[in-house]
Subunit: 332 residues, 2 copies
């Protein structure tokens, strides 16, 4: 086994140094006590951190290339949800053993995604321990254009990017909760292991969307965060929530569970005024991503028992759902 | 057991919100997809991340209050080593179970230190898993005044703050490698569990010191990082390296091992021109911390086998030391 320093140098520091050609005057990448980074002029730094644990966020047998991709993707997704331009990230991880083949594939998956978004590895830490990955990501955004959770307005449409539920469907196949044809199962597994952060969409929605977040814990739980922060309520057509053809081949109750309460999708849920519908659709075309309108935001009546989502089906009949978001200290 | 959201809200989010009174116009604390933070005008953001794992960086029976302190202290120490003013931090952690008493003490230790430095919790992530703490810390520094590792100059003095070796001595007592009187053992254990980040010193050394770093892995290994990044060599008096009275009561070979190769001290090692000696001593007085001159930096002769530390004793006789820094993939 190579020493920590040799491995880190080989698989991370050298590649980070190659990326550091993008650093601006005065900025500093990996190798010092701190990195030095600045947001763009008149912008702020958007910062998010996510920790991934084996058995909780990925299975022990996950392809390390996919894991490298996913660890960064879930963080870039938070920048996307804020409308921020990715700039850099730090990577801290604990490994039971420093295996070359594992680190090689993991770092390939990580840097391939980082390169696509011009996002430099600027610092890190490694240690021995049960497998754990912690990435903190940095982007730049003008604060007045940031897509905040507390900025929804009464009358806003509620939009969803892409399709929801495939990642949860993949988890269910692996767990044996339901089964799927081989091709559909591969689609689901890909959604679970290689989510695509919607960075371009977040940027395209600056000045158009009011509030946004990424759907990591399930639409029902995540949309509620917007409602709570904005002190508003919502009406959502459960049958309008977009889903893949593969998911449509699973039973209707499974579809509903996966689309409304499934985590790990990393699509964006955002609100925008009805007057901006054409602009939203243009943003979707620009980034080549279907955007679907699923509901509306309204004022929170003083008599209401706090912010809530009022679900209905395609015919307009109310639905009573007891779906919960993905609470990490409970079984899903 | 309370749910994750209740616990996080109670012990972290509410206290973070209290700290967010310090946020400037446009900045955003905990509760959105990203925090928004800006360095001071004409400054850059200094960023560092550290991961702490049970059994590796702390013992399972550590007082959770001390752990909360140490997890943030080791990160603030990286800001100190850069001469940066602390602004905020993110906290990601994995816990085997969410115990109220543990979280209460841990968050107390964390926030007491954060308050002392006006450093706000701006984001985080929690999950179930083997105990793991990952903090990423943010500070502000003018890039031209940052204390970089690559900025040492031939002729510079080498300085050490405080005393070295107590933390390693404490580890040795716990491991049974050596023994100490009860009072000395308590001194060592305190050094190990409650290191003090030298933030004020780092700020006071702006414009005075050339290069700096914090001693986390042992002086021998850490000083070598400065030499490698600056492509220089050093001559150090091993007997001049400052140590506590408690450490002086241990055998001479243990003193040497602890002062030169012991990790977890978090004192600063920095270089400054000989013309700045009075300014360095004034900085030490200002922050009430003894500073000790232990050696000098010199040019790297083309015939030399790379940067190295040439150790000698108080009489000037050369010493051959085979001490290694703290490599996390090897036994210490």
């Amino acid at each position: 086994m190579l020493s920590e320093f040799s491995l880190i140098d080989r698989f991370f520091a050298r590649r980070a140094a190659a990326g550091s050609r993008r650093l601006k005057e005065g900025e500093l990448g990996i190798g010092d006590d701190c990195a030095l980074l600045a947001p763009r002029p008149r912008e702020m730094m958007a910062i998010s951190t996510d920790m991934l644990v084996e058995g909780r966020h990925f299975f022990p047998d996950i392809d390390p290339h996919a894991l490298g991709h996913k660890a960064l993707a879930v963080n870039l997704s938070d920048l996307a949800a804020m409308g921020a331009q990715p700039q850099g990230f730090t990577l801290a991880f604990a490994l039971p053993e420093a295996r070359e083949d594992w680190l090689s594939a993991f770092s390939d998956g990580l840097f391939e995604l980082a390169e696509r978004y011009g996002c430099d590895l600027i610092g890190g830490d490694t240690t021995a321990g049960p497998l754990n990955l912690c990435i903190t990501v940095f982007g730049s955004v003008p604060p007045q254009l940031a897509l905040r959770r507390d900025a929804a307005q009464p009358g806003d449409d509620i939009w969803i990017s892409g399709t929801l539920g495939d990642a949860r469907a993949g988890l269910g196949v692996i767990r044996g909760e339901w089964s799927a044809e081989q091709e559909d199962a591969a689609t689901f597994r890909r959604a679970l292991e290689r989510p695509e952060p919607r960075v371009e969409l977040g940027l395209a929605l600056r000045g158009i969307a009011h509030a946004a977040l990424d759907i990591s814990d399930g639409l029902a739980g995540d949309l509620l965060h917007i409602l709570e922060r904005s002190q508003l309520t919502a009406r959502v057509d459960a049958d309008a929530v977009p889903r893949s053809d593969a998911l449509r081949r699973l039973p209707a109750d499974v579809q509903r569970r996966c689309t409304l309460a499934g985590g790990d999708d990393y699509e964006l849920c955002f609100t925008a005024p009805a007057t901006a519908r054409a602009a939203v659709e243009e943003a979707g075309h620009k980034v080549n991503l279907p955007l679907t309108r699923v509901g509306t935001i309204s004022v929170l009546e003083p008599s209401a028992n706090g912010p809530a989502i009022h679900w209905h089906d395609a015919a307009g009949a109310p639905l009573t759902l007891t779906l919960q978001g993905f609470d990490h200290f409970h079984a899903d």
